[in-house]
Symmetry: C2
Subunit: 617 residues, 2 copies
């Protein structure tokens, strides 16, 4: 088969591709992650790259999705770009996945450290003909329990040859739940580490924790490299069903991602990955299935029931995780098919189950969940919001990284705040919410979501002045409000909010809001009965509570009752890692939370129709 | 690097070898096992092959070790034969390892079956939106204990996608010690298998057992393919210390051997290896170390103390064993450094620990053990007999396979019995004992082991007649007694017993007898206090008790007190497999057996000198 060479700039990475393959496919072995929310089907138009060298005919879908000025800049769609000769391609930063800020922000109540891990110092002596005691027996004899009370992990046995063995030498035995899981040379009692892992559909975050002090030793996040196969869980499930070896491929990607993070946080902290003896994983049910190598197809079709939703215990080595092979791992249990262990961990972190007042916790994300309750009763539901909050399916959307517009206000003209204060490149989730809230407030967007045309606005809202009204343009067949002009933007292209973008946000926000209202109705409470709204997820502290209220994403409450809690799933996983009693509480909690099903409920459809309409305050 | 082609006949197997490599090395990838007791050092001269095609200059060691008539037949030593061009080589059956008979003969008391394994039938139902119960929860709910009382092996989790899931479907859960280790489609409750494995230095034997009925489902044995690296444990230990990757290589060989046997017995019995859920392994300490991948060097140098001598529990998958990956495996504990779990298993099988009378059990082999005792007290020692009993280091020695001389008697002339009644090819262990016993009885060998020369014999033993006396010849610098002449033998070469052969047997038999006498002295008993002598090991039922008594191998007792018990280590492993209480008894037994060290005891040296002299009856 003939092959062509693809060079990616600015990285300078080079790979080969058979003729007929796409540039998107070529990024895979190089671990370059270009956005592909639609799963390389040529629908989303998000896998933009620039061809620096070489000319390849356009695919009809490219002609449809790329603007003339983009084509002039030789912008192409990587999934449609199939070179028949060597090419040099430039990756565009706004279309490459980076690590979202909020995933590393974890909070959560203080937890008394009782990880369940013990380390014991063992004094060794030189065996003699008169006292020929094997190394393993010497170790057993110096532990607090009797021989037969310990089990022994084969990994600890395999470590025996690495332990110098004679008078004056010492070794350290690591014990978990009555099993000796590790044996090490010297006194390593101070080295007891654990890692909490939050496996999100979009982003994976890892937290290194010192299991003696409870202190955080480091945190890192990266894009879930399964995103190459689609943005949401449904496209991933579809991929496993349609492609041979699809499941294996997605499974190996997750393991590789987790290992990359684990290795990097350990390296940064100067900790040997072999001294990570305990890990707690959380994630939605699809991620749990893919991580464990389980076929997720039953999650993809009605009645959407997983193969397994209970907590799964395993050893790191069983799944090829790069910690100590005998490291004891737990994947926390799910609450329901579409409310995974990440939601359970969020509930733990928010302390809903111990709260006097009623708390509403919302995980805002592609596959988010809402939990409503107090110590008396807890309800939950899932939110099929779609990826709009992460900048996907939005004309000039991008992830929250330097240059993204994250806040907008109008004072005579439009004012922007970008991440890092750079020239604007695009619109991230918090910027999108802000933009819609501001235009709603100004009357440029109607409650039903329609954006006014220029002439209509000049007529009805002349007080806004020309510097605002001039920003209303036609973009193809729809209205667009320009947030940053050609001159203001980094890319030389205008950055705007289109009518479609407003519709995307309406659907996303409406889905979450309708879910929350259904929970309130089930519990028989009103908005004002809620003592606190906690927003978790990709946003972190980066949206304004007023804007979230303005678009109806969260109940209309005073902003001091709204809190942003960052990565609550990661925080809950960390708590379960630090404390076996918290971990046990998680299992008990799971049985107390009632899942409220939305599918097939006509009243939910009504709530959804109501919630899609922006509130009139 | 230039390569040459080596063709092995009669198998017709072909391989390539870099120039400078030996024909012995070329056999390795083809799984052809030529004897190499000295570990390819050119000392033992046992790796004889015949070159059919091609001529390669002789190595000086070959000129030393090969007789002129052998060189005429183009016999060569495979370890010294380093072809610079393509050659065809014939394997000589008497130098190729085969499966010894006795390893498959197992006896031992009846055991009440209580393997610890349970299988439970689970009725499944189609999940619905109203009752969305995951597959794993359905399984948990139908088991006798509550959810939280079971642990779950990741292998059982991985099996979930293979279970059809709907009304009317059933599945079977396999439980071991509170852990669900397997999940299978349909009702498989009848399929509960276990395998006992006896890992000998020379031979590995596997026994398939039905864990419901206790019946034997099949047995198979094969040469331990580590033999390529030396006949005894000392050369294997040396190999791991001297060669890079030596330990890994020996380890992988054992795993491969066990897997070959496991697969073949399962196939023969129509059992899926995935339905082998429990395995018990026994072997000497060096085999235990190499099997587990542990560095055995501490066993090779004083004070000869192992890294681990306790029982080791693991899952088949942890070591790449081809049973169900979650199969629960136990390597039984050793009694002392040089008295391995094989001796413990032998003790179990012989029931010494429950006997009123005093029993002496001897495992006759390269690394054998003796156990003496009754329910009151049990002593043991190790026997460094060397490989003479297996036909190694014996001029015309061979393993016990068709054509081997296994019995000899003198009635006017010499009469032979060969295995299978074929023309004689060589002398196996039982034939060696018989030959020495017969010649001792005839006066042709003196008590101190000297073999008479022809003239001396004609003078002192003229009554033997010329047909016997003519058999005395000079072979190099030593006397030899011809058992089969050039005309009688299969090979066209005479088969004889040399003076050196007698010395080898004296040393081997003396080492065992002296060990037994030391045990008797420690216990303060005499030969006649022993109610039964049990002979286990490679001989099985194939030596005559009288001959064993005649050469002083076993105490001088009436032959009805001598019993041959075949593979007692295998029998004990099978008992531990069938019954958890027997398995527990093994652990307790280990603490009750006292190891009697021979090294550094002047009284043992005296006993050894006495035992080397053949008894005058």
């Amino acid at each position: 088969m003939e092959r062509v060479r693809i060079t990616f700039q600015p990285e300078g990475k080079i790979t080969e591709l058979p003729v007929g393959g796409s540039v998107l496919e070529a990024t895979e072995p190089l671990e370059l992650y270009i956005a592909s929310p639609c799963g390389a089907e040529g629908r989303c138009g998000r896998c933009r790259v620039r061809v620096l060298d070489g000319s390849i005919p356009y695919d009809p879908l490219e002609l449809e999705l790329l603007r003339p000025e983009e084509r002039e800049r030789r912008i192409r769609l990587a999934c449609r770009l199939k070179p028949s000769h060597d090419v040099v391609v430039e990756l565009l930063p706004e279309y490459v996945y980076v690590q979202p800020r909020a995933k590393l922000e974890i909070q959560g109540p203080a937890v008394e450290v009782e990880s369940g891990l013990e380390k014991h110092l063992v004094a060794l002596k030189t065996p003699t003909l008169e006292d020929p005691v094997s190394l393993l027996r010497q170790i057993h004899r110096s532990l607090p329990l009797k021989d037969e009370e310990y089990r022994l992990d084969l990994e600890a046995v395999k470590a025996l040859p690495r332990i110098p063995w004679g008078d004056g030498e010492v070794a350290t035995a690591t014990i978990w739940d009555g099993t000796i899981i590790a044996l090490e040379q010297g006194d390593t009692r101070r080295a007891q580490y654990g890692v909490a892992v939050d496996i999100g559909t979009t982003t994976i975050a890892c937290f290194l924790v010192d299991l003696i002090t409870g202190e955080m030793g480091g945190a890192a996040a990266k894009a879930n490299s399964q995103r190459f196969f689609g943005d949401d869980v449904v496209s991933r499930i579809k991929y496993t069903m349609e492609k041979q070896e699809g499941l294996g491929r997605l499974h190996r990607r997750l393991i590789k991602d987790v290992n990359a993070l684990l290795t990097s946080i350990c390296q940064e902290a100067g900790v040997s990955p072999d001294q990570v003896y305990r890990m707690v994983f959380v994630g939605n049910s699809t991620m749990a299935h893919l991580f464990l190598g389980l076929d997720p197809r039953s999650l993809g079709t009605a009645p959407y029931v997983p193969l397994a939703d209970e907590g799964i215990e395993f050893r790191a080595g069983d799944l090829g995780i790069a910690a100590n092979p005998a490291c004891r791992c737990s994947f926390l249990p799910a609450i329901a098919s579409w409310v995974g262990s990440d939601a359970l961990a969020m509930t733990l972190a928010t302390g809903i189950d111990e709260s006097e007042g009623i708390i509403l916790a919302i995980d805002v994300g592609t596959n988010g969940e809402s939990v409503l309750g107090s110590r008396k009763e807890i309800l939950c539901c899932s939110n099929a919001a779609g990826p709009a909050f992460e900048g996907a399916h939005i004309a000039d959307g991008m992830q929250a990284f330097p240059g993204a517009i994250e806040a907008i206000w109008i004072e005579e003209d439009v004012h922007l705040k970008t991440i890092g204060g750079f020239s604007p490149k695009g619109l991230c989730g918090s910027g999108l919410i802000d933009a819609v809230a501001v235009l709603l407030e100004a009357g440029l967007i109607e409650p039903f979501g329609r954006m006014l045309g220029r002439e209509e606005a000049e007529e009805r809202l002349p007080h806004l002045g020309s510097s605002i009204l001039n920003r209303l343009r036609r973009e193809g067949s729809q209205n667009m409000f320009v947030l940053a002009t050609e001159e203001e933007s980094e890319t030389g292209l205008p950055i705007g909010l289109t009518q479609s973008d407003v519709r995307e946000l309406q659907m996303a926000s409406g889905a979450i809001a309708a879910g929350c209202r259904l929970l309130m109705r089930e519990m028989g409470i009103e908005e004002q009965d809620i003592s606190a709204v906690l927003l978790a997820g990709a946003f972190g502290n980066h949206i304004r509570a007023e804007s979230a209220v303005r678009i109806g994403l969260i109940p209309c409450l005073p902003s001091d009752r709204v809190h942003f809690i960052g990565n609550a799933a990661g925080a809950g996983a960390r708590m379960a890692l630090l404390s076996r009693s918290v971990s046990r509480r998680a299992f008990a909690l799971r049985e107390r939370i009632r899942y409220v099903e939305q599918a097939g409920r006509p009243d939910f459809q009504d709530l959804l129709m109501e919630a899609i309409v922006f509130p009139e305050l």
